[in-house]
Every structure is written in C-alpha cells, then in structure tokens.
Amino acid sequence: MKTYLTFLWRCFRMSFNGDWRYHTWMFVLTAIALLGLNAYCRQLVHGLVMTGMTDQVSWGMYIANFTFLVGMAAAAVMLVIPVYVYRNRDLHDLVIFGELLAVAAIIMCLLFVLVDLGRPDRFMHIFWRFNFPISMLSWDVIVLNGYLLLNLHICGYLIYCAYRRVPPSQYFYVPFVFIAIAWAISIHTVTAFLYVGLGGRPFWNTAIIAPRFLASAFAAGPALIILTLQIIRRFAGVHVADRSLLLLRNIVTVALTINMFLLVCELFTEFYTDSAHVASTVYLYFGLHGYAALVPWIWTAVALNTAALVILYLPLTRSLQSLNAACLLMIVGIWIEKGMGLIVPAFIPSPLGEIVEYSPTANETLICLGIWAFGLLLYTIMVRITVPVLSGQLTINADSGGSPARAPHLEEV
C-alpha cells in the first residue's frame, strides 16, 4: 500500500518536471482550462441561457463534442487489436499510449455530458432511480464509465508493474484487454443508438448512423494517434517505428473509405427518395427556406475528408508529411461532420416545422475549449509519467527524473 502511495506521489511530482517547453505547454493548457472553468461557473449561476441552445435546438456543441470524443476513445482498439489479436510486435510498446488517449477522451466525454446538464447538482439521481434498460442514456452511462474503468485498470496495472520492475501477470490484464475491445465497439454503438432510437427525429432515425459512427471513429481516432505518436517520439524520446505508423495508415485509409461510402449511401437514400424526411438533410447541405448556417461547414467537412482520402490513396504521397496532412484534414473533417453535421441538423426544422438556427455562444465555446485543454493536460501528464516508467528511468529504486535524494526512502518494500 505504501509503495503504491509513494508511486502516486512520485507520479505527481513527475508531472511538474520538465523543460521550459513542457512548462509553457502545461501553463497554457492550465490557463485555458481555468478560463473554461470560469465560463462554466457563470453557466451554473445563470443557467443554460449562456449557451446558444433553445427549445428548438436543445443539444449543441457539448453533445457534439461528446459524440466526437466517444469515437476517439473507441478508436484506441485500433491499436489494441493488431497487438493482441494479430500479435503485431511493432505496435506492442505503443498500445499504452492509445489506451491512455482513451482514458483522457472518456474523461472529456463525461465532462461534456456534465456541462450539458441543467441540474448537475442532481446527477446522483441516476443512482437512485436509473431507467435501465429502457433509456439509452442509462446504457451510455454504464458503458462509458465501464470503459473508463477498464482502461484505467489496464494502463494503471501495466505502468505500476513496470515501476516495480516485475513482469505483469497475464491474468490480471489480458482478459480485460479483450473485454475492452468489445466494450470499445459498444460505447460507440450505444452512443449512436442514443440518437437512432428517436422516432420523432427522422434525420437520426436511420440504421446507418451506428456503422457510420464506427467508420468515422476508426478513421479519426487512429489519425489522432498517428499524430500523437509522432509528437511523443519527438518530445519524449520514445522509439516509434515508421512501420507502425504505416500500419495505422492502412487502418485509417480503410475506415475513411468505408465512411465516405456510407455517406454516399445515406445521401442517395435521402435525396433520391425525396420524402418529407429529407428536410434536415436539405437544410444541412443546401439550406432550407433561406436558412443555411450549416452549409459552409458541411461542405468544408466533405472537402477535407475527400482531400484526405485522395492523399491517402495517391502512391506519390507515401511520405510521413503527407500522412500527417491527411490525418489533420480528416480529424477536422470528421469533427465537423459529427458535431455540426450530425447533432444540430436533426433539430432543424423542429418537429413542428419551425426553423431556428443554432450557433454557440462565446461562453459555451470557452467551456468546450476548457474541457479540451483539460483533457490534453491529463493526457500530457499521463504520457509524462508513463514514458520514464516504461523506459526504466523511474522505477521503484531508481529515479533519474525526479530527486534521487528520496530513493533510499523508497526501498523499504
């Protein structure tokens, strides 16, 4: 027990250690997170009028970011599967960074749900009267928290073992890894069902949403991991083979292709049928009765995703730079597609045919930025701790990164 507490304490100390770039980065993130906290406090006092949401468009930026991040979290399995199912050696040491990303993403998801609640002071009502299994939201609460716990356990266990310099016992984590693989699919599917199950919203009420969710998540998620791994390679000195990145590139290419294909299927069904249900889609892509706030967004997303796809398929662009460019394009593209493109248009027009547009307020945007900054902060800290532990710099009896003075104190185990 004591060893564990000491471990936690040393991790805590570790998170404050770094060069000036690290400190600047952390300082900036903390500042943004605090600005977000400040904005949230204002929202707590005045209510959700501080956002751009209305009775007509009753979900906005928060739920959009939530949806996107669920995908990011689920995408960690795209590292896990090659390693544990196909025994890929290259990726083996990198899996943990994907899992940590999942942890950070889920925490951000939960925060986005929390800030969306009108009465966060009552969130514990879900423990007293939980509408399970009828409400999809109650499923979502379970799968998200379960996924968080699974990944916390896997990462925490592996890191702690490395710290104690004992080989991890397979029984303590491999079964959980396999549960987590299935679970990752479930978090995204359940989140899709949240929307798909609403008969009153034709835009959502289609079976294609869940597969599209998965496809876009498995494109944007590994894309983010590709970028993150390179950053870690550059700044934390972790060895990341280019081969690993190229393997991820294949995953991203396939997922993005499927995503685009499903998009075409969806658009064909909507526009060719041309029934009354097409109104939201028309609003999204072309504007309706002169209202067209989302049109530039969605076409930007389509353009970004197409550009990313072209880059990925052109044989000329096998370099890392073009891969990075493609990743960046598709992350932004899918973020727009999932947020602006999936959540907001379902509310426009309203079930009574009214068109009320939505745009986030400054306060709402600050809250979103604050949560993103907080998530990045968490992720940076986790990586900051993991790298020296896994490389054997920070272990139970050696401590080159922290203060060696305390090493004797730790040897009493």
Partner: protein
C-alpha cells in the same frame, strides 16, 4: 497520503530555501487563479442547495409523511420568493378516469387566447416567456407543418385563407419522452397525463429531443413570474413554480382537472373549439366526439397514440369547404395528419402503458 517530503530537507540538494519559496509562490499563484476562476459561484442561489432538497426522494418513492414535508418545504420556498402563501397540495389521479382532449379545427380562429390563459394558469416564466401551446397557421388545403407559420401576426384573425392548429402536449399513450428519461423524472400517470417531477429532473433534455410534437419546454434561465401574477392554486406535479434547469410542459391543468374543473385553455376559448373530458365515461363530450366525428391525430406514423384529437366539425359555417379536396395538395401531402377510424381511436388509449385497464 503520506508525504515523503516530510523527510528532512537537508537530505536533498534540490530542496533549498529558494526552491521552497518558488514552490510556495507557484502554489499560491495556482490557488489564486483557481479562486478567480470559480469566483462567479458567489452569485449562486443558495436556496437550491439545501440538504433537505438534496435528500428529497423521487415523487413515487416518498411516503405520505415525506410528501407532506416536501410540500411544506416547497410552499415555504414559494412564499419566500413570491410573498404569497400558495395552496400547494398533491392531487392523485382519480380512479376510472382517462383524460383526453378533442379540438375542433373547423372552429379555431387562431386568437391565441388559450396560449396566454395557459401561461397565467400554470405559472410559466414570463421573462423569458415559456408557452406550452403553439398555434400554427396553415394555408388552407395543407396539413404540412413545414408550411406552418408559428409567428403569424395579423390585425384580425381568422384569415380566410388559413386555418389554425393549436399544438400542445398530446399526452401520448406510448410516450417517447418517458422512455428516454434516464432518471424516470417523467412518467405517465394512471389518468393518462405525462407529468414531470421538477425536483427530480436532471435537465439533460433527452425527452425534448424525443418528443415528436415539440411539446416540452426547458428552463434555460431562471423563470420569472411577477409576484402579483402568481397562481397560488397549485399541485406538486402540475403548476407549482419551477426553477431553472428543469423540463416542463402541458399537463392538462391537473390542479384543475383532478378537482373536477376544466383546463384553462378550454375555458378561455371564445368559440368553443376545445373539448375535454374522461374517455372512459361513454357520455362525456370527448367520448361522444370520438364516436361520432372523423377525428385525426398528428403524426400517426410516430405511433405515439396521442390522447389529443383533432376534428373538423362539418356543421360550423367557418369550416365550409375546408376539407381537403381529392387531388388537392392536402390530399397528397396529408400523410402526417391521417384520418383515424373512430373505432380505432376508441381502442387506442387502452393500449397505453399507463392507462387504466
């Protein structure tokens, strides 16, 4: 957590007076920034954060004693805020009653008196104004809600080229809003009315997304009702004042109807377009209307089984010629407002989950 820093400072060369000082400064700076960030919380309404309120149970779980205490607490709170002693009580559903509404589209003149009577009766916020009833102005010959004007503003109504369709909560027998609520803060009562426990709702607005009739309203801001405008006749599940962050909607004026009176919107209607009553009583006006008129429900394809019916009364002069002609646009596009077979209409509500057997 045991703090290893408690080992003598002399043990580590890093721990000098300077580094301690810098650490202290950083910590102080961090705390100050944090304090500044949360400073808006000073204006938080403490009223909402009492232990009593925190521990209050779900409406259905309260014992009679606990309910009494909750009612007293809420009454005291209302008195503090509005300087008027409310007559707050809990009116349970009556046995053998299932409420239903029938609205005569042929008569409605679109004057919106029901909208305002409802606001006054049910203590909705005046600023921002929350309204449960939406009156749609539709061009004659069309029932496509996408062609409706929600904000029509005419010197005189009715306009001869339009007809008017008020929409409020349809008290569905198969309500999607109830299904989705993660905390069961909204449910269907035995008399068929879907209610909300305003002290239980967590404000996630999932129900608002699920309702196909745009019937639910969320308190984005703290509701404000002028003191002199407060209706003090109130019940727990209906028109007691709400606070910000919770959902509300039409509840068929339970404070009136469960006490044998008619809803406020019905009483104020100048042309008698509105009919309300007990479906299970074959002699009631609504039961008669369902039996003898061609009634319609909105968005039948959503399978929500509304207890709110529309009909065109052929006898009324205003209505003459407004039934959609064969081949007219209404006839083609009338998918969402489908004529229901009166027998089917009668058997509808009994199939509901909350309806009495």
């Amino acid at each position: 957590m045991k703090n290893p820093d408690s080992t003598p400072a002399a043990g580590g060369p890093q721990i000098t007076r300077r580094s301690v000082l810098r650490g202290a400064l950083n910590t102080a700076g961090g705390l100050a920034a944090f304090a500044a960030a949360v400073s808006p919380l000073r204006d938080l309404d403490r009223d909402e954060l009492t232990l009593e309120r925190f521990l209050q149970k779900h409406y259905k779980e309260m014992t009679p004693d606990e309910k009494d205490r909750a009612l007293q607490r809420i009454a005291a709170e209302v008195e503090r805020r509005y300087a008027a002693r409310p007559e707050l009580r809990d009116l349970p559903a009556m046995d053998g009653v299932e409420f239903a509404y029938a609205l005569n589209l042929g008569r409605c003149i679109g004057c919106r008196r029901c909208v305002h009577a409802c606001v006054a009766e049910n203590n909705q916020s005046r600023d921002p104004e929350v309204q449960y009833i939406r009156v749609l102005e539709l061009p004659r010959g069309s029932v496509d809600v996408e062609r409706a004007d929600h904000y029509y503003d005419r010197p005189a109504v009715p306009d001869p080229d339009h007809f008017y369709m008020p929409v409020q909560c349809h008290q569905c027998a198969n309500p999607p809003c109830v299904k989705v609520c993660p905390v069961e803060a909204t449910w269907q009562e035995p008399d068929g009315v879907t209610v909300i426990d305003y002290d239980w709702c967590i404000g996630c607005r999932y129900c608002e997304a699920a309702c196909p009739y745009f019937a639910r309203r969320f308190n984005f801001a703290e509701p404000s009702v002028p003191r002199e405008k407060l209706n003090t006749d109130m019940t727990y599940l209906s028109n007691r004042p709400r606070r910000k962050g919770v959902m509300e909607k039409c509840h068929f004026c339970l404070q009136r109807t469960r006490a044998g009176r008619m809803p406020a919107c019905l009483e104020v209607c100048p042309v008698g377009a509105r009919n309300f009553g007990n479906l299970l009583d074959p002699d009631s006006q609504v039961a008669q209307i369902l039996k003898t008129k061609h009634v319609l429900v909105l968005k039948q394809e959503a399978n929500t089984l509304p207890r709110f019916f529309y009909y065109f009364d052929e006898d009324f002069p205003r209505n003459r010629g407004s039934a959609p002609a064969r081949g007219s646009e209404a006839h083609r596009k009338g998918l969402s407002l489908t004529v229901l077979n009166p027998q089917a209409a009668q058997s509808l509500p009994g199939r509901g989950r909350g309806g009495p057997a």
